[in-house]
């Protein structure tokens, strides 16, 4: 009997948040994104955003100093994502 969970991948909906310079570059402060892959990660989301091209590809190009916070904690590219997660893209910080 086939495993229905594998056959019909669940949709993972996350909230994307863009801070400071990235918010202005992207022209938005946040958006929801539905992920259809079976085991979505931070890196997969960044790849999807880069595929939008233009300013997205520029600002998120590999080597650009952008950090990702997953639910308010800095996370690496292999961090797995769950439904309802908040994924924020942070330019280098300049407080203090």
């Amino acid at each position: 009997m086939p495993d229905s969970r594998a056959a019909v991948p669940a949709v993972t909906t996350i909230r994307l948040v863009y801070l400071a310079r990235l918010r202005e570059a992207f022209g938005r402060a946040d958006e929801d994104m539905a992920l259809l892959t079976a085991a979505p990660t931070v890196a997969a989301v960044l790849a999807m955003l880069r595929e939008r091209g233009g300013v997205w590809a520029d600002e998120l190009a590999p080597g650009r100093a952008v950090r990702v916070a997953l639910n308010h904690t800095v996370a690496g590219g292999d961090a797995p994502l769950r439904n309802g997660d908040e994924v924020a893209l942070l330019p280098p910080v300049t407080g203090g």
Partner: protein, 154 residues
Amino acid sequence: MPVRVQTEDFDAGREIAALRGTDPRVGAVASFIGTVRDVNDGSPVTAMTLEHYPGMTEKALAAIVDEARGRFSIVDALVIHRVGPMRPTDQIVLVAVTSAHRGDAFDACRFVMDILKTRAPFWKKEDTPGGARWVDARVSDAAAEARWGNEVEP
């Protein structure tokens, strides 16, 4: 509450006095106030705005204070960071640390400032004669963090 993010100004003297209170274990109080300068990277600055990431900011600052507690022998610590519009000479941030001896107080205060500069989610946008600009992160801040021997974050 050792960490506060607020738009209002703060009374540094009152905050420092409240932190040390009447605790007779305290022999040393180190503090740092960051203020808005009227020039940055060679351009005059007439005003600036500090943006942050609500929700993450308090968590990041509390984590930095916790890390300072783990590294140094301190009695108490306080971080106040302002957000919103500011002008030259305005206060931006206060870090104050109490300890029995001065070495720990100085080290912990500087540690919190150095790590805050590279990890706490604040961003400055300055008004200059050439228009508004996001402030670039400083290489010297990364160097200051590296002095504490932290692993590089992802």
